[in-house]
């Protein structure tokens, strides 16, 4: 077996590995850390994955961005060997998902969409158990658990049963479990859903820290700003298909700049306001009831200009603001339609 001996568990910092760009046994990963080719997966007549190709370079972050039901979780489950694809192939850390499951699993950490913690165990016991199942000895697993509890701000709660944890605490415990073995590849399925802004930021920093050590990360998200901040590349997925793929800048170029939204005091003059403001944008402004919305070419000065133009025409303004493009805007510009509600799913947050 390729598993390291008990006395040399993967969780010990002193293993031959100096960076996390290598496998847990210290060998180098040839080529990209994650490669998926032509993945298909159907559930009944739902095409959860349809001809999905993905490539995540070693030490980089791929953001898989998509609305409810897009197929994000299905993609993660296939890559983490929890689900067999109907067709197509994939390797993670150089190991084939179908044929080399065990070696693959030694080299990944997974934090699923819903926190998978044993509620009857304490936080420390949860992490120690996971460490032991990665092959660490008891002392090593305990030490690693304490380290992670500290890092995820759970030290105080470490000796309490996880059933007493809040949603955000469970989430953090689950993420800690994914990092126990310091694996070179990590899958995070909507890691920040349900976290408060402070924990969210802390998690982003943790992920950035891992990446600077060479870890490869595939994370799914429904938030463009999250993908923008963390990901080297973003793949946009909808109805099981990758509909766009590129660096955040490339995508934003395709989506266009920021949105200016002006709410008018008198909605009767919306059409007039729209034609005045059209000079700020390449596209036609959209009028929605008493609001005019447009994509601005240049962020700088856009607000001042808009205020001036409207006050010269003596059009009263109720509210006015610049908004960064959301995932809705991404979809609108990539597919021409807004995100469709998926009846099977509860509406996601945001």
């Amino acid at each position: 077996m390729s598993r390291p001996a008990e006395s040399d568990p993967p969780g010990e910092a002193k293993v031959a590995r100096s960076s996390r760009a290598t496998r847990v046994d210290g060998s180098a990963i040839d080529g990209a850390a994650i490669v998926a080719t032509g993945l298909n997966k159907n559930f009944g007549d739902v095409e959860a994955l349809s001809d999905v190709d993905l490539e995540v370079g070693t030490g980089t972050v791929l953001g898989l961005l998509g609305p409810n039901g897009a197929g994000k979780t299905t993609a993660v489950r296939v890559l983490a060997t929890l689900l067999k694809p109907d067709s197509g192939s994939a390797t993670v850390a150089g190991f084939d998902v179908l044929r080399e499951g065990n070696a693959l699993r030694e080299n990944i950490g997974l934090a699923g969409q819903y926190a998978a913690v044993d509620e009857n165990l304490t936080g420390a016991e949860n992490l120690t158990m996971v460490g032991r199942l990665y092959g660490m000895n008891r002392a090593g697993a305990r030490r690693r658990a304490a380290e992670l509890l500290d890092r995820f701000d759970l030290s105080d709660a470490g000796d309490r049963a996880a059933k007493t944890y809040s949603g955000g605490m469970r989430r953090r415990l689950d993420l800690a479990a994914a990092l126990v073995a310091k694996p070179p590849v990590i899958f995070l399925d909507e890691p920040t859903t349900g976290l408060d802004p402070r924990s969210r930021l802390a998690l982003w920093e943790t992920i950035e820290g891992l990446v600077s050590d060479g870890t490869t990360v595939l994370l799914t998200t429904q938030y463009l700003d999250e993908a923008d901040r963390l990901a080297d590349r973003i793949a946009v997925i909808d109805h099981g298909r990758v509909i766009a793929d590129g660096t955040p800048d490339e995508l934003k170029d395709r989506i266009g700049g920021e949105r200016l939204e002006v709410t008018l005091a008198d909605y009767g003059r919306a059409a007039e306001a729209a034609s005045i403001l059209s000079g700020l944008s390449e596209d036609e402004p959209v009028v929605e009831h008493d609001a005019v919305k447009l994509t601005v070419r240049e962020r700088k000065g856009a607000i001042v200009e808009a205020v001036q133009m409207l006050s010269e025409a003596d059009i009263g303004i109720d509210d006015l603001g610049l908004r960064r493009p959301s995932m809705d805007d991404v979809f609108l510009s990539l597919t021409g339609h807004a995100v469709e509600a998926d009846e099977d799913d509860e509406a996601g947050p945001g």
Binding site: R3, A103, G112, E119, L121, L133, Y134
Partner: protein
């Protein structure tokens, strides 16, 4: 192989840690069987004639066998919860030995089964039960009991992986196992039953098992009951353990 052993023990430990923290579970292991014993002995006992035995002596092996068979409920319910809470996904994403999740569960059942046997025996002693054999046979009986319970834990493991909720694991298991234990020699002598039921009771694994226990603990003639009980236990184990492991491998997957 060493992996399988270590991982199994890690999972066993995980399942046992929770016991002292769940008073309701402990109650199910202790108070419930005691109530059953008392009800049977004092409510039905006087009306059931058991030639050659006092009813307490007759009943204790029977009720212990019934209890042991139900010990696997913890496995069914626990596995089902693990499945719905995503823990099975977590385990399946780890480089652990795959059968260890089930092996650890069923091994933990052996510990809880032992606990409930001890509780029942103490209750029995208090109300007049006594062994009629030597220490060797008593221990052999205990061993057979544990083995039988272990085999049933695999039946419940499969059940827990197949049903959609812990509640249905509970009721399905009950529907399947409860009648089996009653149409056997556990609570009444088989020859007091109508012919059709007698026919069924005679091939019922519980009859073999209970008769074997009576022979090992009370000294009644064994006939073929001990070998029959061992054969049934082995058969249940070799059928259900692979089925459960197969189901686990594909659980939530496919």
């Amino acid at each position: 192989m060493k992996r399988l052993l270590v991982d199994t023990l890690v999972i066993t430990e995980r399942n046992l840690i929770r016991l002292p923290r769940s008073p309701d579970l402990l109650l199910a292991f202790t108070v419930q069987p005691i109530m059953f014993v008392l009800l049977f002995v004092y409510v039905f006992g006087g009306a059931i004639s058991t030639p050659g035995f006092t009813y307490v002596d007759f009943l204790i092996p029977g009720i212990i066998v019934q209890n042991i068979a139900f010990g696997g409920f913890v496995t069914a319910i626990g596995l089902n919860e693990d499945l719905s809470k995503g823990l099975i996904d977590r385990f399946r994403s780890l480089p652990m030995a795959r059968p260890a999740v089930l092996a650890g569960r069923t091994l933990a059942d052996v510990v809880t089964n032992l606990l409930s046997v001890i509780v029942l025996l103490i209750t029995g002693f208090i109300i007049g039960f006594s062994f009629g054999t030597g220490i060797g046979e008593i221990l052999a009986g205990l061993l057979l009991l544990m083995f039988f319970g272990y085999a049933f834990s695999w039946v419940f493991a499969l059940l827990g992986l197949m049903v959609s909720s812990p509640e249905s694991a509970n009721s399905l298991g009950f529907i399947a196992v409860f009648p089996l234990t009653f149409i056997s020699s556990a609570f009444v002598p088989v020859d007091s039953m109508p012919a059709a039921l007698q026919w069924f009771a005679d091939i019922n694994p519980f009859t073999f098992m209970v008769d074997a226990m009576r022979s090992l603990w009370l000294g009644s003639p064994a006939g073929n009951s001990i070998w029959g009980a061992v054969a049934w236990t082995v058969a249940i184990l070799v059928i259900f353990a692979p089925l459960a492991v197969g189901r686990y491998r594909s659980a939530a997957g496919t």
